[in-house]
Amino acid sequence: MAITVKLDDLLHDNRMTLTELAERVDITLANLSILKTGKAKAMRFTTLEAICRELKCQPGDLLRYEPVEED
């Protein structure tokens, strides 16, 4: 997928673990792992809002568009 989630970098910048973020945004660790590993198909605005609030960032800081060449 051309959209990548830069959750790792943001967690590192905020000195926060995935488990801690999961508790703060009230999302299961399993779902956050899906998001982190880029396996998620879609993201709710409520999830995006909660992550941006806790990591003090903008949606653009979390998501990145990297075009992939298709065969």
């Binding site: 999302i27 779902n31 396996k39 998620a40 198909k41 879609a42 993201m43 709710r44």
Partner: protein
């Protein structure tokens, strides 16, 4: 609100449990039915003379030997009919089980419903053929002797409700396919 939901889930459980019970019972009844009809069919060549004599006693004109071929064919069709019904009941049982597990919107359930739909088409065709044969048998047997109680009027016709059932099942299969796609999308949503 909460008590209503609780009541709903309880009634759902009763519905599911009843459905499971009825389908399991139907499965065993069908298996016994298939066994009995198959045994009768296999025993026919051995009881042929006895049956011929018994029928000659009951009907004005003695039955022709070909009639037993037709009766055997009707019995074979009955076995096919019961097998198709068993197939449909078994698929329905699996769908009910998946509803109980809380995950009914899967592609396999769409395939199961389509299978039940095809079985329903088969049941319609087999029933129609068997009814035609039965009409032929009744005609060939002719009038019963006075004092013999024989009343049989097979009705060979296409059932409208059967056609509607097939359409409903095929459309429902598509609904389940779409439901499965939506479920996959929802599962990938964080």
């Amino acid at each position: 609100m909460e008590s209503n939901m609780k009541k709903d889930s309880e009634s759902n459980d009763i519905v599911l449990k009843s459905a499971r019970g009825i389908l399991a019972f139907s499965k065993w009844v069908l298996l016994v039915g298939i066994g009995v009809v198959t045994i009768c069919l296999l025993a026919m060549p051995f009881t042929y003379q006895y049956l011929l004599a018994e029928m000659a006693k009951a009907f004005v004109s003695p039955p022709e030997p070909e009639i037993f071929g037709m009766i055997a064919l009707i019995m074979a069709l009955a076995v096919v009919l019961l097998l198709l019904t068993l197939f449909a009941v078994d698929r329905l049982r699996r769908i009910v089980r998946s509803v109980g597990e809380g995950n009914p919107f899967t592609h396999i359930n769409g395939t199961r419903l389509r299978g039940i739909g095809i079985a329903a088409v088969g049941i319609q065709i087999v029933t129609f053929c068997a009814s035609l044969l039965a009409t032929g048998v009744v005609t060939m047997l002719g009038d019963p002797k006075p004092g013999v109680d024989f009343e049989m009027s097979p009705d060979a016709s296409i059932s409208i409700s059967g056609i509607l059932l097939v359409l409903l099942l095929i459309i429902l299969a598509r609904v389940f396919d779409r439901g499965a796609e939506m479920q996959e999308e929802l599962d990938g949503t964080v």
